[in-house]
């Protein structure tokens, strides 16, 4: 067993949604109980994804709350933050309630995020208080950044009274100017318009300054460049309480992958240079990055069978995140779990239910991971409705065996139960 308090050998007894015994549970197990064999495995608090696109309402041909939840559970997640760029977007209480209700019927805990601006148009503040009253703790216009500095400043000030976090997709639209990949050696060679690293970095710089000015709780989504991470590190050292996440594709793939012109490698922010990937890995090791978040972004088959510049950006990633983190990062399991479970739980404001120590009385949100098991990524065997997975054929080490959400075993032996 491994959680924020350390590691020990123990069994866990779960009943009616909670952990009721930890340690030696012989004699306590009732007849007919479901037994999850964790031999050779690590039992940990369920993983928390700060960044999942569940695509419902509006894009159900790509994914639904149910299918994304199933993929999440298979990936060891017991909680996900649902991104609000749905159609209609989650910029009001009705849509938030709707997504909440869909999540309640699914096999993980779904925490809808709300938008910062109405319709994600970047012009007017969305009714954050009414959404916060429903429990929304994170607001973002993800899919795009808030381009207007004045609006972002006011959003930060307004959010301050609500105790909520604003999360930014850092991309200066004017400088990015519709670039479809990272601007550099590869974009020049391949003849594809690129967006420079500075398109992300300018907004990181701006939002750090605005957060310092307003005292807001700022979370930076999917950072991808060396300079972005250096700025976060410097801001932290100067006392600013900003948090940052990175996505697995930004520590496992570079812009060289685009040479195949396969749009499965198209994503925003784009796959970057080898130097940036090295910086992301270093930032994960030195504490600059607080969380690994998947940015799971499903798209239907035909959307990704278009010319590279016409295809929508995004990759799915709920089912491969653990394997990639354990295979590609030279970090101890405890550090990986911190990045994928208890640290993101704190950022999402859900640490009373998720990410916390496996202890009597706490809600039973758990995952069981076999850190040595090897497997080969097969996109066709995914619970997601989409197949835009860039890791086809890749061998990974580290597999989720079981997942328990709210006391229910939703994944047993690598199979989703519903």
């Amino acid at each position: 067993m491994l959680d924020a308090e350390g590691s020990r050998k123990a069994d866990v007894l779960v009943s009616q949604g909670s952990v009721v015994a930890v340690g030696d549970i012989t004699g306590l197990v009732p007849r007919g109980a479901v037994v999850l064999d964790a031999s050779g495995c690590v039992v940990a608090p369920g993983l928390v994804d700060l960044h999942t696109h569940m695509r419902e309402p509006g894009y159900e041909d790509a994914e639904t709350v149910q299918s994304a939840a199933r993929a999440a559970a298979l990936g060891g997640f017991s909680a996900v933050v649902a991104m609000p760029n749905t159609d209609p977007p989650a910029d009001n209480a009705s849509i938030v309630s709707h997504v909440r209700a869909l999540g309640e019927r699914s096999c993980v805990d779904v925490y809808p995020a709300g938008t910062i601006s109405v319709g994600r148009a970047g012009k007017a503040l969305s009714p954050m208080a009414e959404m916060a009253a429903l429990g929304v703790r994170i607001f973002t216009d993800d899919g795009a950044g808030v381009q207007d500095a004045r609006l972002m400043r006011r959003a930060m000030e307004y959010a301050g009274a609500l105790g909520v976090t604003l999360a930014e997709h850092c991309e200066d639209a004017a400088l990015a100017a519709g670039g479809h990949m990272h601007e550099g050696e590869w974009s020049s060679r391949l003849g594809i318009a690129g967006q420079p690293a500075e398109a992300e970095e300018l907004m990181v710089m701006r939002d750090l300054a605005l957060a310092r000015m307003t005292g807001a709780k700022l979370h930076l989504l999917h950072l991808s460049t060396a300079a972005s991470l250096a700025m976060v590190s410097a801001a932290r050292r100067s006392g600013l309480g900003v948090t940052a996440e990175v996505a697995p594709h930004h520590f496992t793939l570079t812009d060289a992958a685009v040479a195949s012109y396969d749009p499965v490698f198209k994503v925003h922010p784009p796959l970057r240079s080898a130097l940036d990937v090295a910086a992301v890995k270093a930032a994960l090791a030195d504490g600059t990055v607080d969380a690994i978040a998947t940015d799971h972004a499903p798209h239907p088959r035909q959307a990704k069978e278009a010319p590279f510049d016409a295809a929508p950006p995004g990759m799915i990633g709920l089912e491969t995140a653990v394997g990639l983190a354990l295979s590609e990062l030279d970090l101890p399991l405890a550090a990986v779990l911190a990045l994928m479970s208890w640290q993101p739980a704190v950022i999402a404001g859900i640490d009373s239910a998720h990410g916390g120590p496996v202890a009597v009385g706490r809600p039973a949100n758990l995952c069981v991971i076999d850190p040595e098991a090897t497997w080969v990524v097969d996109p066709d065997r995914s619970a997601s409705l989409s197949r835009n997975n860039p890791y086809k054929g890749r061998e990974l080490t580290g597999m989720v065996r079981h997942t328990v959400t709210r006391g229910e075993p939703v994944v047993i032996g690598g199979e989703a139960q519903r």
Partner: protein, 311 residues
């Protein structure tokens, strides 16, 4: 390099075919070539069409503007539909880079010919450019004789002028000309050069006037009018003043230098009309050679094994 020389030698043979009273050989009889032009084109489409017909292939032209792409059919489904008709070659031109590669990963049997993909490559243009240089350059004729089939460009100085960053012609010309040994200099304002030239076997300059007297080939690229709207240039007027091959600037070329352009030219912008009519301009030869070169490419892919001499 070996493959380029082989194609250029084939172009010589087809050039001879094109000078016959009946410029036709049965080499590709029974083969079907589909021209899939998703982007407007005059020269390239007519050139491929003519080339395929002179090889006796059956030619089918797919026109994007009247296809079910307008009904939302995906690129892949469109291509697979065409493939299922039983075709031997797809000649693909698209405004997006990489489409021919994507298509070749989807189709099982037909050969795929890149007739120009986005800003990436235009290989047959580069081949006809190299062929034209080889057969019209007084510098090379002096050095190797006018009919040499060595296609050796060592010591040849080529300047490619214009919007390099958006040019598939430039990228392919750099690849082909340097493969044959030429020294290539890319000339243009910083905003029209690619963000990174790492690994490109080229020189770079922002100053055409300082180089123009040294060039063996002055190759002008078409400047699209939209570039001023993208904040890449202040105006076409300023571009012409600094980089346009005006009559005054053309006077500074050596008498044995060639002037080339892939067409269509923006007369009065990158090149003046009178310059295109000077003897040093081989723009007309480029177009004419396009047919022989494309016959060579189609024959190489589909007809190898068929005896050219006796057909």
């Amino acid at each position: 390099m070996g493959e380029i020389r082989e194609l250029l030698r084939l172009a010589d043979r087809f050039g001879e075919v094109n000078r016959r009273p009946i410029p036709k050989v049965p080499a590709l009889r029974g083969k079907t070539v589909v021209n899939m032009f998703f982007e407007d084109s005059t020269r390239t489409r007519l050139s491929f069409d003519t080339a395929a017909r002179r090889l006796s292939a059956d030619v089918v032209t797919f026109s994007a503007s009247t296809s079910s792409l307008n009904k939302g059919e995906s690129l892949r489904d469109t291509v697979e539909t065409v493939e299922s008709l039983g075709v031997d070659a797809l000649v693909v031109r698209h405004s997006s880079s990489g489409v021919p590669w994507q298509i070749s990963s989807w189709v099982k049997r037909p050969s795929v010919v890149n007739a120009g993909d986005g800003c990436h490559e235009h290989p047959t243009q580069a081949l006809l450019d190299c062929y034209t240089i080889a057969r019209t350059s007084p510098v090379l004729a002096d050095r190797y004789g006018p009919d040499s089939d060595d296609f050796d460009f060592q010591g040849l100085l080529v300047g490619i002028v214009g919007d390099i960053s958006h040019s598939r012609v430039a990228r392919s010309d750099v690849a082909a000309m340097t493969a044959l040994g030429a020294t290539v200099t890319l000339i243009g304002p910083p905003t029209l050069l690619p963000p990174s030239l790492a690994g490109w076997p080229v020189e770079v300059s922002n100053d055409l006037d300082s180089l123009i007297g040294d060039l063996d080939v002055c190759y002008l690229l078409r400047l699209q009018r939209e570039r001023t709207a993208e904040a890449l240039l202040p105006s076409l007027r300023e571009y012409r003043a600094i980089y346009g091959l005006t009559e005054e600037r053309a006077d500074k070329l050596r008498s044995d230098a060639l002037v080339m352009h892939p067409g269509p030219a923006n007369l009065g912008v990158e090149i003046d009309a009178d310059v295109t009519r000077r003897p040093c301009s081989v723009i007309g030869a480029q177009v004419a050679n396009g047919v022989s070169v494309r016959m060579a490419v189609l024959y190489y892919l589909l007809g190898s094994g068929v005896d050219l001499v006796n057909s």
